[in-house]
Each structure stands twice: as structure tokens, then as C-alpha cells.
Amino acid sequence: MAQTTLPAPLDPEITPRAPGPGKSVRFGGLRRIVIAVRQAHGVPKFMLWTGAILSLLFVLTAIFAPLIAPYDFDTYQSGGKTFPKQGAPDGDHWFGTTVQSLDVVSRTVYGARTALEVMVLAVVFSLILGVLLGLLAGYFGGWLDRILVLVMDALFAFPYLLLAIVAGFVFASITGGGVVTAALSITVVYIPQYFRVVRASALSAREATFVEAARAMGAKPSVVIRKYLFGNVIQSVPVIGTMNAADAIGTLAGLGFLGLGIQPTDAAEWGYDLDRAISDVNAGMWWTCLYPSIAMVIAILGFTLLGEGLNDVLNPTMRRRRITKVALPALSRRRVVTAETAKTAATAESAAIAATAATAEEGEAAK
């Protein structure tokens, strides 16, 4: 959806950083994410865990679809007996059957598989293209940068679904409707998001001293980009990636709903199923639309929560330091100031000051 709000750049105090010694230099930035995730607590922790569990549920369903689903996604008969048309849920078909006599359980489960395939492809495509273009534009600047920025801004201004629709319309007439076509039409929508973030961090990293040093020593642009810029820009990618994954599921369903996504004969797809279910809703049949809807909400919710949680954990303006409670000495009726009580009071006071300072510091960071 949607255009996800872009996360603010990570801690300004630390970025950009020169790669330190150690093996995983290139993905060093990602390690900081792992550390931040481990330190999560409270609501972000809850969101991260719920998101992870829901996403895992979705991914496992998608992978093991043939084992879970009782029938194939396009099976309309079993043992020579055709399934009932628009049959209500019963023992044979737990979630009922559709207008095409297809089993809703199987459609829903196989729909997860299609969604996962398209989602992974779309995120990988847009990640590769967006990060690459962003790095090139940010590092080299000049006319290449200016043209790319203009094109990306234009793409970004487009209503996202409209862009996907137009892209789907174009790609479908070239390659026909399939998983890759759907993924490509969704990719077009997300490239600008990666491009913007990566370009911005590449721009700031380019000016860093260690990059200048590398260039002074005669490092080629390709080396500088691979070794020094990549690790710095990659940190902002996981948040956008998870958000886009959530989004891609919705966009794919939107395309399928409009009849522009995956051909119904190729695979089960939630959007297409919902489109067929709308007329059932008018006739009071709830099962054909309820189950694909629930599946879709679980999948999108999982990745959204994951992305929100990551954003909370990584975004310094939203991070909140835990403030430890300051234990004040109990008030006695008659305050006898001995050397001992004076000392405790002083400690408590300094702790209180420290706590206020922490809050103030956080306020500073927020600005």
C-alpha cells in the first residue's frame, strides 16, 4: 500500500561507518539489526514476535501446500463424483466449495503458495534493481543521478495500484500472465522506494573520510561501491523489504481481483477467488470470501507487524530507553540528618538527575 512510510535513516551518530576488521564486512550493517532486535522489549518485541509467528505460519503453509490441502487447486471432482457447486461447509469440504465447484480449503492453501512466490520474486527483483540504481546514482551523481531521480519521482507519484495495473497490462501482453509477470508488475511499484533510501545513504556515505581515503589510494569505483558503500546502505533495506512483502500480497490480490494478475488456470490466487466470491456475498454465501480473506489478512498482518516492529527497534526517534525507577528513601517523621542518610539522599538525587538527562537526551534524538 501502499506507499509505506520510509524509515528515517538509522542512528545519525554512527552512520556512515567504515567496515571494521572481520569476515562479514559487506553485511556488517545487518549485524547491528540483529543486536537491536535482541534488545527489543515491550510493544516492539510483541509486534516482532507476533509478526514472525504469523509470517512463519504463512510461509510454512505455502511451502507445504500439497501436504496440507486435501485436493489440488483446480480439482472439481473426486472419485468420479463432481463436488457440489457453492456447497456450504460440511465434513467433506470444511470451508465449502466455490461457484466453480472447487474446494475452498485447497484454493486458500494453494493461494498462499502463489502469494509467497510472487512476493519473494517481487521483493528480490525490486531490491536488486533499486539498490543497484540507488548506489550508482548516489555514488556517481551527475546527469545519471538527475535522470534517475526524475524517473523515480515520477514513478513514485503514480497511484501504486494504477502503476501495477498498467505494468501488468503491458507485461501480460508481452509474456502472458504468470507468476513472473505478476511479480514484475509489482516490482515496478517498489523500485523507487529502495532507490530513494539507498541513494540518500549512498550520498552521505560517499562524503565519509574512509571512502575518500579508499579513493585516494586508487580504489576503483566498483570496489568502493561493493566494499564501502554497500554495507552502509544495506541497513535500511530490511524494514522496507518486509513492508513491501506485506504490500506485494495486497497488490497481487488487487491485480487478480481486477482480472489482470495470474491466469486462474495457472494457480490459485486469493484476489481472483475474492472477485468470484463477490456475487456469492450478494446471495448471502459467506464461505467463499471469508476464508481467502482471513488467509490474506494473516499473511499481510504478519509481515506488517514484522516491519513495524523492526522500524520501532531501529528507528532512533521512536526508540525509548528504559528508565529505571529511582528508589527514594522512606520519609521518616523526624528527619535526623546523619552522615548515612545524607549519602543515600545524594545518591538518589544523582540517579534522578541521570534519569532526567536520559529523557532529555531522547528528546534531542527525536528532533
Binding site: 501502499a2 506507499q3 495500484l161 497490462f169 501482453s173 528532533k367
Partner: protein, 336 residues
């Protein structure tokens, strides 16, 4: 005063000048995308029905064998004259489609904005003020949930819950209201037909909620974050130190500053609303531009698709420009 208005005028002129290359790129993009697809609208729609010579004649008549630059020039001319080309399938001007169906889309998006504001602003403010409380967590989770429920899920669920027919817009067409503004509800008001107004409003509720749910999450999130950040401002501390009542601190000092960025967010949501409107209109058979677009796509009418997409893109650009103007008007810092 004169100096101030001078800077505002300069800002507006610069902003318009900056928008021109953007619009040009958009137009090139739409044009190229439409030409990348193999074949042309005539072969696509008439391919089986006509023989080769007739096809060629038709293509010539429609100007599809003209060189690319000529076609692009014609396209540019159609945009500049705000006419956006003539459709193939039913020989309508895209401008007429926009005028006749735009009212319905406008009504729908406005309804969605109203719903999102009514729910989103109070929830966002409460969540931001009572940060980390139960209300905050519940509000945020509601925001995330509403974000995770796409229009095509929300709409059938609402129809199931509240009765399918209450959302159907098709009976609207039978309303006997003379057309003046092409916005049905306004037309009905002008005539004073309050039964019709009630009927339209009734039909508008479910589509507006379905579409509004798409953006209410963004509203909650943005208002919450902005309120939290403005509550951390020095002037809030100063107000509290002066002994200003808490309600006045939040209501007067923090709220106003928190609302300025919300205007920007509102503007950015227009692109999203237009996308959602395409789906909503199809589900509720709402007679707007989005439904026309899908019909033309299914008929492979490239000119109509190109024209409607261009209009949508221009609307988004113009609105983001207007938002910038409003921001510059409210906040003088923006102008420099």
C-alpha cells in the same frame, strides 16, 4: 507584509517550474509504457474480425502508423488541450469520461477521507498523548490491522456484516435528478430532493468505510508520531512550567503543531485513495472513473487507458503541489 507575499509568490513559481519536468517525465513514461506492449489497439480489438487491408486502413485513419515522434506530439497536444484523446471502443473524449464519472469518484474519496479523519484523528491524538498506555497499544494495533486489511477484503466483509444491498450503488442511476455538476449528491441538494440525498448518503456509507480503512491506519500513525514529537518540544516544557493546564498544553500547543505535517500526509494519501477507489468502485459497482478504467482495460482500449492514467497522474502531481502551497502559507519556514 509585501516582502512576505513576495517570498510566497516566488516559492509558488519555483514549485510550479519544478513540477514541469516532472509532468513531462510522467507523460513520457505513460506514453512509452503504452507503446511497449506489442500490437496496437485496433489489431487487439478488431484482429479477428477484419482482413489485413481493412486493418491497415483503420490503423492509418487512427494515426497508428504515424512515426513515434508524431504520435507523441499528438499525445502532448491532447494533454495540453485537456482533451486526453478519443477512445476507440465508443468514440468518447476522455475529458467527457472524467467529467461525467469524476463526480462519483470524488464523492467516494471524500467520504473515505471523512471516515478516516473522524476515526483517525481522535485515536491518533489519544494514542500519542497516552503513549505506551493500553489505549496507545490498542490504537496502534488497530492502525496496523486496518492497514493489513485490503479493500477487497474489507468490502465483502462489510457487505456480509451489514447486508449486501446496502452497499450497492447501481440503483443510484435510477434516481431522477437533473445533472448539473455531475456530482449526484450535490445535484440532488441543488434540486432540494432530500430523499435522494439520503438515499445516496446511505449508499455511500459502506464504500467510504471500505476505502477509508485503507488510510485510517496511516492517519493514526502519523498523528501519533507527530504529537509525540511536538510534546517533546521545548515550548511544551515552557508551557507546563508556566502552569498552563494539561488540556490546553495538549490541545492548543501540541495539537496545532502536530497537525501541520498531517496536511502533507493527507495529500500523499490521495494517490493511495485513487488506487483503492478503482477496487472499491468495482466491488460496489460505483459509477466512477476507476470502473471505467477497468472496463477500457478489458476492451484493450489503449487510448482510453492512456488518457485516464494521465489524468490520474496529473491529479496526484497537482494535489501534491497544492499541499506544498498550503504548507508554505501556514509555515513561513518552508518558503526559504
Amino acid at each position: 507584509m509585501s516582502k512576505q507575499s513576495g517570498s510566497l509568490r516566488r516559492y509558488i513559481l519555483t514549485r510550479i517550474a519544478l513540477a514541469i519536468p516532472m509532468v513531462l517525465i510522467l507523460l513520457v513514461l505513460v506514453f512509452v509504457l503504452m507503446r511497449v506492449a506489442p500490437g496496437d489497439p485496433i489489431s487487439a480489438s478488431q484482429g479477428g474480425k477484419l482482413n489485413a487491408a481493412e486493418l491497415a486502413a483503420r490503423r492509418h485513419a487512427a494515426g497508428f502508423d504515424a512515426p513515434m515522434y508524431q504520435q507523441f506530439w499528438d499525445y502532448l497536444k491532447s494533454v495540453v488541450t485537456l482533451n486526453f484523446g478519443t477512445t476507440f471502443s465508443d468514440h468518447r473524449q476522455v475529458r467527457d469520461i472524467i467529467i461525467e464519472n469524476g463526480g462519483a469518484t470524488l464523492t467516494l474519496t471524500f467520504g473515505a477521507l471523512v471516515f478516516a479523519s473522524v476515526i483517525g484523528i481522535p485515536v491518533g491524538l489519544l494514542a500519542g498523548r497516552l503513549r505506551d498506555s493500553t489505549i496507545d497499544v490498542a490504537g496502534r494495533l488497530f492502525g496496523i490491522l486496518s492497514y493489513a486489511v485490503p479493500v477487497i477484503v474489507a468490502a465483502p466483509m462489510l457487505m456480509l456484516a451489514f447486508g449486501a444491498t446496502s452497499g450497492q450503488a447501481s440503483p443510484l442511476v435510477q434516481l431522477n435528478v437533473p445533472t448539473q455538476t455531475h456530482i449526484l449528491i450535490v445535484d440532488a441538494m441543488i434540486v432540494g430532493d432530500w430523499d435522494a440525498v439520503g438515499d445516496i448518503a446511505n449508499h455511500l456509507v459502506l464504500p467510504s468505510i471500505a476505502l477509508g480503512l485503507l488510510i485510517v491506519g496511516v492517519f493514526i500513525r502519523m498523528i501519533r508520531i507527530n504529537l509525540i514529537q511536538s510534546l517533546q518540544g521545548d515550548y511544551i516544557e515552557a508551557a507546563r512550567a508556566r502552569g498552563v493546564k494539561e488540556t490546553a498544553v495538549v490541545g492548543r500547543h501540541a495539537f496545532r503543531n502536530a497537525m501541520v505535517p498531517v496536511i502533507t500526509v493527507l495529500g500523499l494519501q490521495v494517490a493511495m485513495l485513487l488506487s483503492g477507489a478503482v477496487l472499491t468502485e468495482r466491488i460496489f459497482t460505483w459509477p466512477g472513473i476507476g470502473r471505467q478504467l477497468i472496463d477500457y482495460i478489458n476492451q484493450r482500449d489503449y487510448v482510453a487507458v492512456q488518457g485516464i492514467v494521465t489524468v490520474f497522474a496529473l491529479v496526484v502531481v497537482v494535489i501534491s503541489m497544492l499541499i506544498d502551497f498550503i504548507n508554505a502559507l501556514i509555515d513561513p519556514r518552508v518558503r526559504y
